[in-house]
Symmetry: C2
């Protein structure tokens, strides 16, 4: 059932089996499985997730490669609702571990916000990451290319950059190192630091050895038309020719709401999980980009399957087994 | 490119980066990723895999729940071919480890078979399992219900059995134990052993305690119409009423071709793999049902992603990095 500030009273006293923070591909997979295990679950989705940016989902078996992120997210949300999951548009502010349950505080609405608290036995952290993009005065200019011909994920889109002139936008030395992986797909790489950070002489020499020019002036604007990049203009007036780009500027991790939870093991910003996507906390699971491993739709979807299945197993094992009462006295038929 | 006995000469001297044994969901995912990494891969598919039996794929995010296995397999095969994978209909008889390469011997054609040998750097075992079904004289009677209202996977289809009268067809004690998981979905369980194996007094007592009748007579035929089960007739004349069924009779593992490989770690019939779907052999990967873990489409698809990515990383790290030759002497532009 679709929840909103208008009808959430109907569910505010529900003890959910699981609350899924994030309605991206991993969260939707978890919700579909939870619902099909007959468990009560609530997806809380803030909107504008990473997969919404995808114009084409090219490497997920069974979907037309031109399927956009928004299409598949809408479809998956409908699937989850149809199997019986609840779905709420809101922003999870805080999760408090109450021992047997979690209290999940949600902000609903940008204006006149309300802050209801939902409760669940398990929490699935599926809120993912958001890639940093170069900040320009006119952000629409960035959005005109990001997700089309300027990519954020080399594994996803390297193929589509094959042997093209590419800009790599990076602002730390370790991000610049992406050039030495990107060159599997194309060697025609120009490195742009957008005026951020400084580049060591060692890195400058390495880039020169590979023939990859380095531009340290900030970006003025992306050039091109109809989402097809043709180059990048820097504020010093230089125009760098390129038909594609990779932004490697790190990511923001959406895991603030877990910061108050004791006993979570992190590896940098990623949650450490086991093969069932369980974190070091027995009632918190983490999916996809938030956990260690590949940031791929297929991985998040499988994580959702695993997390939901483990939660079902736990709940099932603690439940009273169902007997066929009317049969209890029937003799065994041979 | 679609290969057959007619055109395989064009590829018989190709050293593939990877040969994918099995064109199910995991194998197709691996092939799509391999092709998009620009690697040469060959899928060898014998046909009639487990996912072909699915009439509805209900829990894979983004697909209509009424999508059949054959639809998604055909679609995925087309995807893989479009990105540049090769595909051959044939049966892998044997894989020989030659040190740096594998020799993969394939049987093509049921009559006048030919036995070409293909070579690759890596092998991805994606040939899955096949569920054992009760053997009746008229197997068409089994196929009329299997995959429709008689299921083989409780995680996949338990939801669709909810509170229905169900037959559990099992022939060892451990398979009969599925009743005590199936009762999460429905307590109206009749256990049929199809005349195979014997049931201990302890198990008989436990089933009686739960009110689950046990029938040890062999099955004569499934009853119903238009794939909708209404009951099962046993050869002793008993009719067991049921609108759904679960077959829990074990599976055949399609891994015969790996038996000659040294150094593979098995857990029972499952291959042990790491988080990148790599077996204990550095150049052999295993996906989905062949490896330990959940037998779910989403898991196999993610395994394919991981295996292809690790193979790409290995090959990339061993390759000569591509430089932008014409730029080598260009001074760094600031």
């Amino acid at each position: 059932m679709k929840l909103s500030s208008k009808n959430l009273d109907e569910r505010i006293d529900t003890l959910y089996d699981a609350i899924v923070v994030g309605g991206g591909m991993g969260g939707l997979s978890a919700a579909i499985y939870l619902a099909r295990y007959g468990l009560k679950c609530l997806i809380i989705e803030k909107g504008k997730g990473r997969s919404l940016w995808m114009q084409d989902l090219r490497n997920y078996v069974g979907l037309d490669p031109h399927t956009s992120g928004s299409t598949i997210l809408n479809h998956g949300t409908k699937q989850a609702l149809e199997w019986g999951a609840d779905h709420l548009r809101g922003y999870v502010e805080e999760v408090t571990d109450e021992g047997e349950t979690f209290a999940v505080k949600v902000k609903i609405g940008k204006k006149d916000s309300t802050y209801p608290i939902f409760r669940s036995k398990y929490v699935i952290a599926a809120s993912g990451i958001m890639d940093n993009l170069p900040q320009l005065e006119n952000m629409q200019n960035v959005y005109d290319y990001a997700g089309y011909t300027v990519h954020v994920c080399m594994i996803c889109d390297g193929f589509d950059m094959w042997d093209q002139k590419a800009v790599l936008i990076a602002n730390t030395e370790s991000q610049i190192n992406a050039a030495f992986v990107l060159n599997w797909f194309t060697p025609y790489i120009s490195v742009l630091t957008h005026g951020l950070g400084s580049v060591s002489d060692t890195m400058k020499q390495k880039l020169a050895d590979y023939g990859y020019p380095l531009y340290e002036s900030p970006i003025a604007k992306f050039l091109g038309e109809k989402h097809q990049l043709s180059g990048v203009e820097l504020i010093d007036g230089t125009i760098v020719e390129a038909t594609t780009g990779l932004v490697s500027m790190g990511s923001v991790y959406h895991s603030h709401y877990l910061k108050g939870i004791d006993g979570l093991e992190w590896d940098g910003q990623n949650l450490v999980t086991n093969e069932m996507a369980k974190t070091s906390h027995d009632r918190i699971f983490a999916l996809g980009d938030l956990k260690k491993g590949l940031n791929q739709v297929s991985i998040a979807v499988a994580d959702g399957t695993a997390a939901a299945t483990q939660i079902w197993r736990n709940i099932r094992r603690e439940s009273v087994p169902r007997k066929w009462e009317e049969n209890i006295k029937v003799p065994i038929t041979v």
